[in-house]
């Protein structure tokens, strides 16, 4: 039989991608009549009270149809999801570029010109523009949370060695190639139809309904596909869809909202910048004894997803390491920056970067190789995390470490790098290996559910609907494979339908890497139902027991019989005439997960995804510029559902992580304005930043029981493999000096690396632990 699951198939929309035929939200409007266009009225204050909005001149401008303000909102003027703290049309400007009104006009150019005519009178208020300033002003979005194991304070007092440190971690702009977009219009029946580039159509529907004061059944949200999202459209697409829907509702015309790159970068949240303060205790072998960490994230002006993001950072402070005594405190700062949000890894990367930073400082303090210290601290069988969950399969960490170390010739190259450095005063190489353990599941347990709706037509062709959205991660590809195998039909028989709220209701965001786990299980559930019904029909046709009926390659036969059986479409037709329902819903909920923040205890994750990477870099001592020479990755994807897709997730996630840790620098001006707001000032990796030699392998014998076809989630975990690049850079920087710890800012831009080299070369007697 031809098994689709596990086959290395191209992306389900690949032909559309390469021919330009694949449509995205903003590709739709040229074929829709009478579309009006929107442009935001933004205020260039970090914090101000809006006294008056004078739109008289704008309303008179050519082509202007409306200037939307809070007065136009029939429902709630708030799009907050975690709490009601995000007015769609605010009376308080909370970051530079905050939109307080929207102009709707016949053309985009007319809307833009008119937006410039809207006079917004403001009274400037004091602004909080950094984590430090927020801490000083006691400006927070959460009350503070705690996870702990053992007695960190006591263990720190008695630890053989200890030091304090502080570490600032930069954020990251999503830079999905497709900026936020929505197109809304009244459907034929008077309902509101919204095309939105959203990871969470159900929530977009909910927000549109809230703003319009209509029941949710009056709103349909569709997400055909996204041109990248990475978490940036998990929540923050909602407001733009709401503006489009509000305008369409007021004007009775289709309305298009599409942000320019600059608007998108200025108006939407990013990966949270973090500040970590820590005290670590360890012994002379580098084994950690105790750790106390305080994590502060810059949540920006509104809560958004900042709490679960911080929570995941707190959960991942252990990464792969057993921390005998640990206390993790976390708090979200409120600043006058854009509201930061989900981004691939969702706080996990920041949490893991903290422990990797600490381990490197411990290693260099003891003059031990960092990989030796890392290995000495690995979790072992039976170990429990600082949130009460037993670490499942911890032996995979050591296995991956050993297998990757061997396949990447780590020890030999360690010596080669040392030899190279000894003979090269101005160019130094660095080699590092780092591990990843990433917890899979929404830590908000009730999100871990999914639905599917499968429709079989009389000709045997099949439509699959599920609650997940396609953002390039290959979810639809995998679901098509699962459905094809689930019904024993060829891929071509299965069409993946655009994700719509009128097919599967009350869905969760496609996020937390578990899109395939959840929706795949729901699709399979629906397939099981249909196959059970069809087996009864086929049993009669084939004169066999339903239990023996098999569905393979578009034919239905009997197990053990040589003859090929009957075509699937004939069984379907027969079923129709026998009045057997040819559609089925599927449902799945992840079993046995729970977590209670009050006690800091539970089992938040269904399982862990593991991996490790070895990276080698070369650093120019004159400028701090560097090149990534080679990366070897061994990653645990379980039994891969779709190897080409999974490899793409591993490689793409890794390179995105490299960007976060190296060239991607968010720059705000002293007045709070976000300055690196375009592709010319914000530098994501190009081909030139990728390792010319990239070797990716999947861990073998890694079937994950209890997950769809033994697979594992793969969306987020590989991003953190990029920490190997940061640590390789640090190793190269260290080679310019005479030993001791290496202070390296994050992101490690060429300038940051340059200053780290300068410090390494002229080492001060005391390590500088404070930020520059």
């Amino acid at each position: 039989m031809t098994r689709q699951v596990g086959a290395a198939l191209p992306h389900e929309s690949a032909v559309g991608h390469v021919t330009g035929a694949a449509r995205y939200v903003d590709d739709l409007w040229p074929n829709v009549a009478h579309v009006a266009h929107a442009w935001p009225v933004q205020v260039a204050e970090a914090h101000a009270r809006v006294e008056r909005i004078d739109a008289a001149a704008a309303r008179q401008a050519p082509g202007v149809l409306a200037v939307l303000t809070a007065d136009d909102v029939p429902g709630e003027n708030d799009i907050g999801v975690a709490r009601r703290d995000e007015p769609l049309f605010p009376t308080e400007v909370c970051f530079v570029g905050h939109a307080v009104a929207w102009v709707i006009a016949e053309t985009e150019e007319q809307a833009r010109v008119a937006a410039g005519l809207v006079r917004v009178e403001c009274e400037a208020l004091p602004a909080i523009l950094s984590i430090d300033a927020a801490i000083a002003a006691d400006s927070f979005l959460t009350a503070g949370d705690r996870l702990a194991k053992g007695d960190a304070a006591a263990a720190l007092r008695t630890a053989p060695r200890r030091f304090d440190g502080e570490f600032a971690i930069g954020g990251q702009e999503h830079f999905y190639l497709e900026t936020n977009a929505a197109l809304a219009y009244r459907d034929e029946d008077g309902g509101m139809f919204v095309h939105s580039s959203t990871q969470h159509p159900t929530e977009t529907q909910e927000i549109v309904a809230r703003v319009l004061a209509v029941p949710k059944h009056a709103v349909v949200v569709q997400c055909l596909r996204m041109g990248g999202a990475f978490g940036g459209k998990e929540v923050q697409a909602n407001g733009f869809a709401a503006v489009a829907a509000l305008a369409a509702s007021r004007l009775g015309r289709p309305v298009r909202v599409r942000l320019t790159r600059r608007q998108d970068m200025v108006m939407t949240g990013k990966r949270h910048p973090f500040l970590a303060r820590f005290r670590v205790g360890f012994d002379n072998t580098g084994r950690l004894v105790a750790l106390a960490v305080q994590l502060f994230s810059d949540g920006g002006w509104a809560l958004d997803l900042s709490f679960p993001v911080l929570g995941r950072a707190m959960f991942h402070v252990d990464n792969c390491y057993d921390l005998p005594h640990v206390e993790v405190l976390g708090r979200v700062c409120r600043t006058h920056h854009v509201s930061h949000t989900a981004f691939r890894g969702f706080g996990g990367p920041q949490g893991m970067l903290v422990i990797e930073e600490i381990l490197d400082r411990v290693a260099r303090t003891l003059d031990l190789p960092p990989h030796v210290v890392r290995e000495r601290n690995f979790y072992r069988t039976g170990d429990v995390t600082h949130y009460g969950q037993v670490v499942r399969d911890p032996e995979r960490i050591a296995r991956i470490w050993a297998e990757l170390g061997a396949s990447a010739s780590f020890e030999a190259r360690w010596a080669e790098v040392a030899a190279f450095n000894a003979g090269s005063p101005n160019l130094k190489r660095g080699l590092a290996i780092t591990p990843v353990k990433f917890g899979i599941s929404f830590t908000t347990s009730y999100y871990n559910q999914a639905g599917a709706l499968i429709l079989v037509y009389k000709d045997g062709s099949i439509q699959v609907n599920h609650g997940g959205t396609e953002m390039g991660q290959g979810l639809h590809t995998k679901m098509r494979q699962v459905a094809a195998d689930g019904l024993g039909v060829p891929l071509e028989a299965v069409r993946l339908m655009p994700t719509r709220t009128d097919k599967v209701p009350n869905t969760s965001a496609t996020a937390a890497s578990c899109g395939s786990d959840l929706n795949g299980a729901a699709v399979r559930d629906a397939c099981d139902t249909l196959r059970g019904r069809l087996a009864e029909v086929a049993a009669e046709m084939l004169d066999a027991s339903a239990a023996d009926v098999v569905f393979v390659d578009g034919r239905v036969g009997v197990s053990g019989r040589a003859e090929p059986g009957v075509p699937f479409c004939e069984v379907v037709a027969k079923a129709y005439y026998a009045r057997v329902p040819l559609f089925a819903a599927g449902f799945y909920k992840t079993p046995e997960i729970h977590f209670d923040w009050k006690t800091g205890d539970g089992k938040p994750f269904h399982y862990f995804a593991y991996g490790a990477a070895v990276s080698e870099v070369e650093v120019d001592g004159f400028t701090g510029q560097y090149r990534l020479l080679r990366t070897d990755i061994l990653h645990d994807v379980g039994d891969s559902l779709s190897p080409l897709v999974d490899r793409g997730q591993v490689e793409g996630g890794f390179v995105q992580g490299v960007g976060w840790l190296t060239t991607e620098e968010l720059v705000w001006g002293g007045d709070g304005a976000f300055l690196s707001h375009g592709a010319s000032t914000y530098k994501l990796p190009t081909l030139g930043e990728c390792p010319p030699d990239l070797r990716v392998a999947f861990l073998e014998r890694a079937r994950e029981p209890g997950v769809i076809h033994g697979s594992k989630a793969v969306g987020e975990p590989p991003l953190m493999l990029a920490i190997s690049v940061r640590e390789a850079l640090r190793a190269a920087v260290a080679a310019f000096g005479a030993g001791g710890t290496v202070e390296l800012a994050s992101p490690a831009t060429p300038e940051a690396v340059f200053w780290a080299i300068e410090r390494a070369r002229s080492r001060s007697p005391q390590p500088i632990l404070a930020r520059s």
């Binding site: 191209p10 992306h11 929309s13 690949a14 559309g16 991608h17 390469v18 021919t19 330009g20 035929a21 694949a22 995205y24 590709d27 040229p30 830079f175 190639l177 497709e178 596909r225 041109g227 990248g228 999202a229 990475f230 790159r261 600059r262 005063p425 101005n426 390039g472 290959g474 120019d620 004159f622 400028t623 510029q625 090149r627 080409l644 897709v645 793409g648 490689e651 793409g652 390179v655 995105q656 060239t663 620098e665 720059v667 300055l675 375009g678 592709a679 010319s680 000032t681 530098k683 994501l684 990796p685 190009t686 081909l687 030139g688 990728c690 831009t749 060429p750 300038e751 340059f754 300068e758």
Partner: protein
């Protein structure tokens, strides 16, 4: 007049076009939405389309350009292929290869990559893999490996490939364009006389545009609107390329790609600094439009061309209705984005003296290797005497002052000294006084100041005679 061109094999009439509508906007509004907008400033390549060009050797090929930075009116009479036209009904080999390689994830950047790869597929003289072929395209999903694999494995076109007949006919010279839409006018004169007539008819009103990679960024990013845009793209007088007894003459209107082609094809024109500069100069998508004249006339302090040309002691020829004059480049940059060109003057060519110092180094300090803008750039041209002394040092920097500058103090102090570590140490305090670096989002003032000396040291480390180097590191 109406703007008309050949689009995916069919003639189209785009009607009158002004100065601000871009080819990208027009394509998308027309429903050709395969071409995407990712940044609208020429950095991401999602909007790439192919245009036919004939080079100096008479070879005709497809050249990828960023359609976000091309005024629609500038496409008059051109041949344009968008992603929808690449396959023309079936999958083109590059499309098929992208599918098989897993080269698309979200798919939004994919059309741009497909167009870049399509152009590379037919590039005359293509030998092996050229990373530059996709250096101007950003992908946020794949990590590039599968796309690079496609570029690495491109086969040669089949002899019966129908595209080859389209490439058999040379592209005719650009014609005159005068297109008006509302309050905006786009004019493309075809001779200098024509240009000066246009300029004198609209004093003060006109903005000159060559490749458009700077002017159009203003249009898309800062909403600059130009009542009159005068294109220099059809002026034969700006397209000179010659090697005379004294100088290499580079027409101000040649694109950087054309200069690269010409220099490569002319052994007498080999200038190491130009060879080092061009691959680091933005991306091929930009170099296919951007001109050397434009790079100098915009007078950006962080342009990549000026430090190289300053170090080569180049001069520029300026022309107006009343005559021509030569200005040494070192006297050309007067202030932030301010040049010695007078109103009504345009740049005709750049003259690079022959016999420049033999040792040449160009360094670009930026966050990324490819497709980036300098934080600091430096160019050094150096001659040593047989006994290892500095016979001539010509050094220039970008990114450390309001204009690109020659480091004359450094040059004077180095003259006659042995090219040794001791000399470099003596020069470093002088280097520390050069320029007036500022902090901005590309780098701090301290970093820029440090780079002045460090790049000199780097140059020394790479060029010192072996003895001096051993002495320095021993």
């Amino acid at each position: 007049m109406a703007v008309a061109f050949l689009l995916n094999g069919r003639p189209v009439n785009a009607g009158p076009a002004g100065s601000s509508v871009t080819l990208l906007q027009w394509l998308r509004a027309r429903g050709l939405t395969g071409t995407k907008e990712g940044c609208a400033e020429g950095e991401c390549g999602a909007c790439a389309v192919a245009m036919r060009r004939t080079d100096a050797l008479g070879r005709t090929f497809y050249e990828p350009i960023n359609s976000c930075l091309v005024p629609l009116a500038a496409v008059h009479d051109e041949t344009v292929v968008t992603v929808e036209g690449v396959g023309a009904g079936t999958l083109h080999p590059v499309q098929d290869a992208m599918i098989r390689a897993g080269g698309s994830q979200c798919g939004y950047c994919t059309p741009g990559f497909v167009v870049s790869l399509f152009c590379e597929y037919y590039r005359p003289g293509r030998v092996g893999y050229d990373p530059e072929s996709i250096s101007g395209n950003l992908c946020r999903c794949t990590g590039y490996r599968p796309i690079a694999d496609v570029a690495r494995g491109l086969p040669s076109p089949e002899p019966d490939d129908p595209r080859l007949s389209e490439l058999a006919t040379p592209v005719p010279p650009r014609t005159r364009v005068e297109s008006v839409d509302g309050l905006e006018r786009f004019v493309r004169p075809t001779s200098l006389d024509d240009l000066f007539r246009c300029l004198s008819a609209a004093p003060g009103d006109a903005t000159l545009i060559a490749g458009g990679t700077d002017v159009m960024v203003g249009v898309t990013q800062r909403a600059d609107r130009h009542p009159l845009l005068i294109s220099l793209a059809a002026l034969p007088e700006l397209r000179a390329f010659a090697v005379t007894a004294d100088a290499i003459v580079l027409g101000a209107g040649l694109t950087l790609t054309e200069i690269d082609e010409r220099v490569h094809a002319t052994p007498d024109a080999a200038v190491p600094l130009l060879g080092q500069l061009l691959p680091l100069f933005s991306s091929r998508l930009i170099r296919n439009r951007a001109t050397l004249g434009g790079n100098l006339m915009t007078a950006s302090p962080i342009g990549d061309g000026p430090p190289v040309l300053l170090a080569l002691d180049a001069s520029v020829t300026l022309a107006s209705a009343t005559g021509r004059r030569s200005v040494p480049l070192r006297d050309f940059f007067l202030g932030y984005r301010k040049t010695a060109a007078r109103p009504g003057e345009i740049m005709l060519d750049v003259q690079v003296p022959r016999g420049a110092p033999a040792i040449q180094r160009f360094y670009k300090v930026s966050k990324r290797v490819l497709d980036d803008i300098s934080t600091v750039a430096a160019a050094f041209a150096l001659d040593l005497t047989p006994d290892g002394r500095v016979a001539r040092l010509q050094a220039a920097y970008g990114g450390i002052a309001a204009t690109p500058i020659r480091a004359t103090a450094l040059e004077a102090a180095a003259a006659g000294r042995p090219w040794t570590r001791e000399t470099i140490d003596a020069l470093l305090p002088i280097a520390a006084t050069i320029g007036t670096p500022l902090s901005d989002l590309r780098g701090t003032a301290d970093y820029r100041r440090a780079m002045v000396g460090r790049l000199l040291e780097k140059c020394f480390a790479e060029t010192a005679p072996a003895a001096a180097l051993a002495e320095a590191t021993g």
